[in-house]
């Protein structure tokens, strides 16, 4: 069981991700944008961060940079949920410090398979 921070401004995506992860026995903390996620992260560490890229207030890339600056998030896997399958956007994510990405649309099984890559 891992503690996972799920960040997405879309409530339906957030619920889907959260429901899937909880169903697999994980502990999920939800945040609706980067700023909210960062505020949580400043208080405690998690095992994995899943974050959307396009969000109001603080987008996923900024969140990623900010998280990497926190000592407890230096090596935490951070996966970006992105609809952009192009290399550019992925590189942007990487240079912000993201571990990897999950390309939307994805289904619950794909999500679980992917996060298995970085947990444990």
């Amino acid at each position: 069981m891992a503690k996972i921070l799920a960040v997405d401004d879309s409530a339906s995506m957030r619920q889907m991700v959260s429901f899937t992860l909880k169903g697999a026995g994980h502990d999920v903390i939800e945040a609706s944008d980067g700023a909210e996620a960062l505020k949580f992260a400043q208080g405690q560490g998690v095992d994995l961060v899943l974050s959307d890229v396009n969000m109001p207030n603080m987008n996923g890339l900024e969140l990623c940079k900010n998280l990497r600056a926190l000592p407890s998030y230096k090596f935490t896997p951070i996966l970006m949920l992105t609809t952009e399958s192009s290399g550019d956007k992925k590189m942007e994510g990487k240079s912000a410090g993201a571990t990897g990405w999950i390309v939307k649309p994805f289904n619950p099984d794909q999500l679980l398979t992917t996060i298995k890559k970085v947990l444990g």
């Binding site: 396009n54 896997p77 990487k94 890559k117």
Partner: protein, 691 residues
């Protein structure tokens, strides 16, 4: 694990509708020249979220459509393409189109694909037209390494030389090896190369100095290996080469000879594409039924204050409980205090609960900029919409019902009120007409004003029309107010030519009726050449009413307090007979028709003489009627219960309530009461007034 994604559909619909509203708002607010990047971002984000959600939940049609939308928006966002009127129009149309698609999906009707296809091809035409290319148009993920052929089922040799900083993106080589091991059933050999390791003193523990050589003598797909290293291809040198027979010989000692390479299958489940869910075909194209259970969003503040209030109620309750256990007369003072406290708590609680249903009127107002824009374009008029008081709160039910009447009024203002630019100029006015919307609270009501600076109502034409239609007797002289009032009469329409916008059979009479159904009223004032002003007054809520309790016989009836003008004790002289059977009351210089509740509702009363009764003068639709009752009781707030839901509709009654002693009292529907009193009285009343 299989998860039923349909449980998230409702949330998806709701947030998509919100997203569409935000897009629409953003598009309307946007300056075409040098648009605010934040506005573009908001629009882009909404499209983007919808695309992501639609794809995930299997709404491929929506996903495909939003994809082209998003591509275009991304170009605008990144400055590759300038915003134009055409693009704005197209985007607005697509907002409508997506909304329709979602509604069709939601109600299970077959979506009409024609418009989607048309719009989509228009987008594609724009996208292909210019050389600005889409940046993320579904390029296939680039190959990790030059294609190195197939392994012939022999296996693979991998050199993995990560950059020093690889750990800082959270990529842990050990996890990748574990994945590889899973792929080949632990049948692999990993050799560590540590030549890059520096002196211990200069070693940075956060760096990765080592590299690896991995041999997998199994027939696994190269794609699977690529996928393992997918996230680090730019942070590492990865060379994957198929094992030749020679390599196999070299490493045969480590490979389990009994393991037939061909039989080893990849254990990694392949991601399955999201299957597009076929839209359930409705047997016939039925009108979309709204199956959604409507919900409201309530701010946390309101909920908190509610919980707070309940807390206080519980304290009061326990205090009273304690008091009751050992009660003696000496403590009656405290009991009274407690009860007063309880009353206070209950009232506050009631107010807080009502507040939950209250929403800012901006929910209704927000659709008008689009309306005004579309209507003014189609009529070639220049119109500025000015809105104020958007944060004024109103009951959700009232809000839902006031939208259509307002649309009608605004359309009317634009269509009939505001003149063509040339006419305006000739009249010495600015070419751009103004329509002002305002909302504010006034003594327990919400007041909505719709004001335009157009031509104003043409009293001569209205009167002529009304006479032509037989609504007013030929040659009658009416006051200006009465003439204005004519536009609310059924069967009245001044538009000489029935335009696309107004005059579709839905007249102002319907507007007035709808507003009256909400216990509200509408008034109009106008000045030739200066403009007109419509004022709608509505109760803040439909659930609670300030009522005047009256007694007729043994029954208690309730009048909405807002409709009562005055209550008077009768004396003989003020009653006149008109036409032999109708009574009218002479009220100062007016004559008011009299309605007897006991006759209408067939109540037995001992007191048959009208002279001893009390008359409650109520006003509805600008007309007064006197209602005869036996006794005036108190005034109190009553909670309205629907009679239609619990019984059936009854003429003259708008609802029921339960009084403090548990008895049921009926609430009088004042506007239908005036109709029951007989339409013949109207004209005579008017002529008396005019005289």
């Amino acid at each position: 694990m299989s998860i039923d994604l349909s449980q998230f559909h409702q949330v998806f619909y709701e947030e998509s509708y919100e997203g569409l509203d935000a897009m629409e708002q953003g598009l309307l607010d946007m300056e075409l020249v040098d648009p605010d990047p934040e506005v573009i971002n908001t629009i882009f984000r909404a499209a983007h979220s919808m695309k992501g959600g639609a794809g995930t939940f299997g709404f491929t049609q929506v996903a495909d459509f939003t994809h082209v939308l998003e591509t275009l928006l991304d170009q605008i966002r990144s400055g590759q393409r300038a915003m134009s009127q055409d693009i704005q129009n197209l985007l607005l149309k697509s907002v409508d189109c997506i909304r329709q698609l979602l509604q069709d999906l939601q109600s299970g009707t077959q979506a009409d694909t024609e418009e989607t296809t048309t719009l989509k091809s228009q987008f594609e035409a724009i996208l292909n037209d210019e050389t600005a290319t889409a940046s993320d148009d579904g390029q296939p993920p680039e190959a990790t390494t030059p294609a190195s052929g197939d392994s012939d089922g022999q296996g693979w040799h991998i050199r993995f030389i990560p950059e020093l900083t690889i750990l800082q993106t959270g990529n842990e080589p050990a996890r990748m090896f574990r994945q590889l091991a899973d792929l080949c059933d632990n049948n692999m050999q990993v050799t560590l190369e540590y030549q890059r390791l520096p002196e211990f003193t200069s070693l940075d523990p956060e760096m990765c100095y080592v590299s690896w050589e991995i041999t997998i003598p199994c027939a696994i797909e190269k794609n699977d290996i690529d996928e393992v290293f997918e996230w680090v291809i730019d942070d590492a040198e990865i060379i994957i080469t198929p094992l030749s027979g020679h390599d196999i010989a070299d490493h045969s000692s480590s490979a389990d000879p009994s393991n037939e390479p061909q039989e080893v299958q990849s254990e990694q489940p392949k991601p399955t594409p999201v299957e597009p869910k076929p839209v359930e075909k409705a047997a016939a194209k039925q009108p979309a039924k709204t199956q959604e259970s409507s919900s409201i969003r309530v701010s946390i503040d309101k909920v908190d204050s509610l919980i707070n209030m309940v807390g206080e109620l519980v304290i009061t309750q326990s205090m009273l409980g304690q008091l009751g256990q050992n009660f003696d007369i000496s403590r009656v003072q405290r009991l009274q205090e407690g009860l007063a406290q309880l009353e206070h708590n209950t009232r506050e609680l009631q107010e807080s609960v009502m507040k939950i249903r209250m929403m800012p009127i901006s929910f209704v107002f927000s659709r008008f900029p689009r309306l005004v824009r579309d209507v003014s374009i189609s009529l070639d008029k220049k119109i500025e919409l000015v809105m104020s008081g958007e944060s004024t709160e109103l009951d959700k039910t009232v809000m839902e019902k006031i939208g259509d009447p307002m649309v009608h009024l605004i359309r009317n203002s634009i269509d009939h009120g505001i003149e063509m630019p040339a006419d305006r100029k000739a009249a010495g006015k600015s070419e751009t007409g103004t329509v002002k919307l305002d909302a504010y609270h006034q003594s327990g009501n919400i007041v909505i004003e719709i004001k335009d600076d157009g031509a104003g109502l043409d009293t001569d034409r209205i009167l002529a029309k009304a006479m032509e239609k037989g609504l007013v007797p030929e040659g009658a002289s009416l006051s200006q107010e009465q003439i204005f009032d004519l536009i609310f009469q059924p069967g009245f329409s001044t538009a000489d030519v029935v335009s696309d916008l107004s005059g579709r059979g839905v007249g102002m009479d319907v507007v007035r009726r709808n507003i009256a159904a909400l216990n509200g009223s509408i008034e109009v004032s106008s000045e030739r050449g200066k403009g007109s002003r419509f004022v709608i007054r509505l109760p803040l809520t439909l659930a609670i009413l300030d009522g005047q309790l009256v007694k007729v016989g043994q029954e208690i009836y309730i009048f909405p307090l807002v409709s009562i003008v005055e209550s008077i004790q009768l004396d003989d002289r003020s009653i006149n007979q008109v036409g032999g059977h109708s009574d009218v009351l002479q009220l100062r210089d007016e004559y008011v028709p009299i309605v007897k509740l006991d006759e209408i509702f067939h109540i037995d009363t001992e007191n048959r003489s009208i002279e001893d009764s009390i008359i409650v003068v109520v006003e509805t639709d600008g007309e007064k009627i006197g209602v005869v009752v036996d006794e005036l009781l108190g005034q109190q707030q009553v909670v309205i219960k629907s009679l239609e839901e619990n019984y059936r509709r009854v003429d003259g009654i708008s609802g029921a309530t339960i009084l403090g002693d548990g008895t049921v009292a009926l609430i009088v529907d004042v506007s239908s009461l005036s109709k029951m009193s007989g339409p013949s009285l109207k004209i005579s009343d008017s002529s008396h007034q005019a005289a």
